[in-house]
């Protein structure tokens, strides 16, 4: 773990271009100044935050509601639970491809067909709403994870507590708000923490579908580093980006772990 970290740090202070061996030597903080003054970095950071924020919101809210739904008794619940958890087992590249070619394709896609069916104009998802499309795909992948964790958590809710609340005059909404949600608090914070670690580094979905475009509209930090290193061949700049990503991730992690730890204590 230490070796790649140190090498990244080392490279981030070097002039290092894969195509031109004559560009070399110590760069000082040039890589950083260049990167930090580059508007692309801020766009990518903004995109990363939007992506993480929206996917978290969708999966946690959706996961909680679905967990409540799947907790109810209904015919075929076992199969329905299995199906709803299945997307988590599809690898990101494959699911992105499926979404790209079968769901969101402006001509052949299921969504386009549905839009036409109801008389709307088909949307060319990846060119007109690139980041939204990525958010949708990633949410689809991570919703089952959130659901799985929250469903197991909700099953440990004491029936007596719900019944006591019913005796106290709580309707379904009040029970959800005052009993179920507080009970799920821990599980929700665990879901947020784990998801955030993985969502900060989303790459395959972007690579397969939009390639970060159009322009930089769907480029996140991970993808920007990839562009710098392997499309611009600027290892020094990419390493500087990597260091920034590490710092960013750690700041997030410190905050999160502290809040989660506080929840777990009480």
């Amino acid at each position: 773990m230490l070796v790649p970290l140190c090498m990244t740090l080392w490279f981030s202070f070097q002039r290092y271009n894969l195509l031109n061996p004559f560009i070399s030597g110590f760069a000082g903080v040039d890589n950083y100044t260049y990167l930090l003054t580059d508007p692309a970095l801020w766009t990518a950071m903004g995109n990363t935050l939007l992506l993480v924020g929206w996917v978290l919101a969708i999966t946690v809210v959706g996961g909680t509601l679905l967990a409540v739904l799947f907790q109810q008794e209904f015919f075929g619940r076992g199969i329905a639970r299995l199906l709803v958890i299945a997307p988590f087992f599809v690898m990101p590249t494959v699911s992105a491809l499926i979404w790209k070619n079968m769901m969101m394709h402006p001509v052949n896609g299921v969504l386009a067909w549905l839009f036409n069916l109801f008389g709307f104009q088909a949307v060319d998802w990846f060119s007109s709403l690139p980041l939204t499309s990525i958010i949708l795909i990633v949410s689809w992948e991570w919703l089952p994870f959130a659901l799985l964790i929250l469903l197991t958590a909700i099953q440990s809710l004491d029936d007596d507590q719900v019944e006591a609340a019913r005796m106290d005059g709580a309707g379904p909404i009040a029970i959800f708000w005052f009993i179920t949600l507080p009970h799920l608090k821990r599980a929700i914070s665990v879901v947020i923490m784990i998801e955030m670690i993985f969502l900060l580094t989303i790459f395959a979905e972007i690579f397969v579908t939009t390639s970060g475009g159009p322009g930089l509209a769907s480029t996140n930090l991970a993808y920007l580093i990839y562009i710098r290193a392997l499309l611009d061949f600027d290892v020094g700049g990419a390493s500087a980006g990597g260091v920034i990503a590490i710092v960013l991730a750690n700041i997030v992690a410190i905050f999160l772990i502290r809040t989660v730890a506080r929840h777990l204590e009480t």
Binding site: D158, D160, Q161, E163, A164, A165, R166, M167, D168, G169, A170, A174, F178, I179, P182, H183, K185, T266
Partner: protein, 381 residues
């Protein structure tokens, strides 16, 4: 201040009848205890009264109003659960005030009512705590407090003391009885512990297999069990049963022959039985006495010394008899002892399990529970 009436209540669970037609009347301010072995349907019955379980057929009437389709919150009842079912993320005060909060009672009034209940239960110092920081007995009191705050017409208790240790259980038993007097409310209490039933109830309902076996005061159940099941269920150790042959059935009672040859005249209503019939004779261990001239003889197989009393297990004519005697008996295992009993203490059960009615009612049967407590005995006199 409420009455409850159950008319032919039936509960079906996927084709199996769990409650098979229960009729019951609970008077205002009465303390009614449901007892029975596990799976007898007592908790289900309580949950049906609470509205947590639907009723397959029959009527539930509270104060004369049919309540079958009314939701649990609107019935004006409150329930104390075996697991306490406190809301773990709320403080004691919020737990107790939750129903009022849902009913949108203003904060000041809510606090006043919670404080009032906390005062009754001595919980004032714990109001800020979370349930996790409380002991079992304190949690139990909070659960009761939550029930009190709603000011219900009937309190329902579902085995509330079974998670407490023995000493605390005794204390809570007395406290619950005191609470019953202080609140003057109707209470229905489910338990499998017959000591709780005997000490707290005005009226005990013995259930078995979804059927009410007998309803009556504790002493009525003890001295005049309606059938063999109630006789065996009430009282500990269990009543001894032995098959006997009827020698003679007359006005003064039924004369039966014990296996050892002794003949006893049990003062019960003799109509319907005749010489030669086989009956089952029941006699409680505490009513058997060691007696060197007694008609029964056997060998001691087990001795259980409890200090105050001693239980002797005696093998007599192929049957195991249990005697509860004085704690000072010096007998040893394998000693032969003779014993007997007062005929009036014996019960006779017909083939179908029903008891033959005693000719004389026991004088303690009509003692009311309130007369057993100092606080109200003063009021009565």
């Amino acid at each position: 201040m409420a009455t409850l009436e159950l008319n032919n209540i039936v509960k079906d669970f996927a084709g199996t009848q769990v409650i098979k037609g229960v009729d019951l009347e609970v008077k205002d301010r009465e303390f009614v205890v449901f007892v029975g072995p596990s799976g007898c349907g007592k908790s289900t019955l309580l949950r049906m009264i609470a509205g947590l379980e639907s009723v397959s057929s029959g009527d539930i009437l509270i104060d004369g109003q049919r309540m079958n389709e009314v939701g649990p919150a609107e019935r004006g009842l409150s329930m104390v659960f075996q697991s306490y079912a406190l809301y773990p993320h709320m403080s004691v005060e919020d737990n107790m005030g939750f129903s009022l909060r849902l009913a949108k009672v203003p904060k000041a009034e809510r606090r006043e009512k919670v404080l009032e209940a906390a005062r009754i239960l001595q919980l004032e110092n714990l109001l800020e705590r979370k349930p996790k920081a409380l002991s079992g007995g304190q949690r139990q009191r909070v659960a009761i407090g939550r029930a009190i705050v709603r000011n219900p017409s009937i309190f329902l208790f579902d085995e509330p003391l079974s998670n407490l240790d023995a000493a605390l259980r005794v204390q809570m038993r007395i406290e619950l009885a005191r609470l019953h007097e202080e609140l003057d409310a109707t209470m229905i209490y489910v338990t499998h512990d017959q000591i709780e039933a005997m000490t707290m109830a005005d009226k005990i309902v013995v259930l078995q297999g979804g059927i009410v076996e007998q309803v009556g005061s504790p002493m009525a159940l003890y001295h005049h069990p309606r059938n063999r099941f109630v006789a065996g269920f009430i009282g500990s150790p269990k009543m001894n049963f032995i098959d006997v042959e009827v020698r003679d059935a007359r006005g003064e009672g039924v004369s039966v022959r014990l296996p050892g040859g002794g003949e006893y005249l049990v003062p019960v209503d003799a109509s319907g039985c005749q010489a030669g019939d086989t009956l089952s004779l029941g006699i409680r261990p505490e009513h058997l006495t060691l007696d060197d001239n007694g008609p029964l003889e056997g060998e001691i197989t087990v001795i259980e010394r409890l200090g105050g009393v001693t239980s002797l297990y005696v093998r007599c004519h192929g049957e195991e008899w249990i005697l509860v005697t004085d704690g000072e008996v010096s007998h040893r295992v394998r000693d032969n002892v003779r014993f007997g009993f007062a005929p009036a203490r014996a019960h006779l059960f017909a083939e179908d399990g029903l008891a033959l009615t005693h000719l004389e009612r026991h004088p303690l049967v009509d003692v009311e529970r309130r007369q057993n407590r100092a606080s109200t005995a003063a009021d009565v006199s």
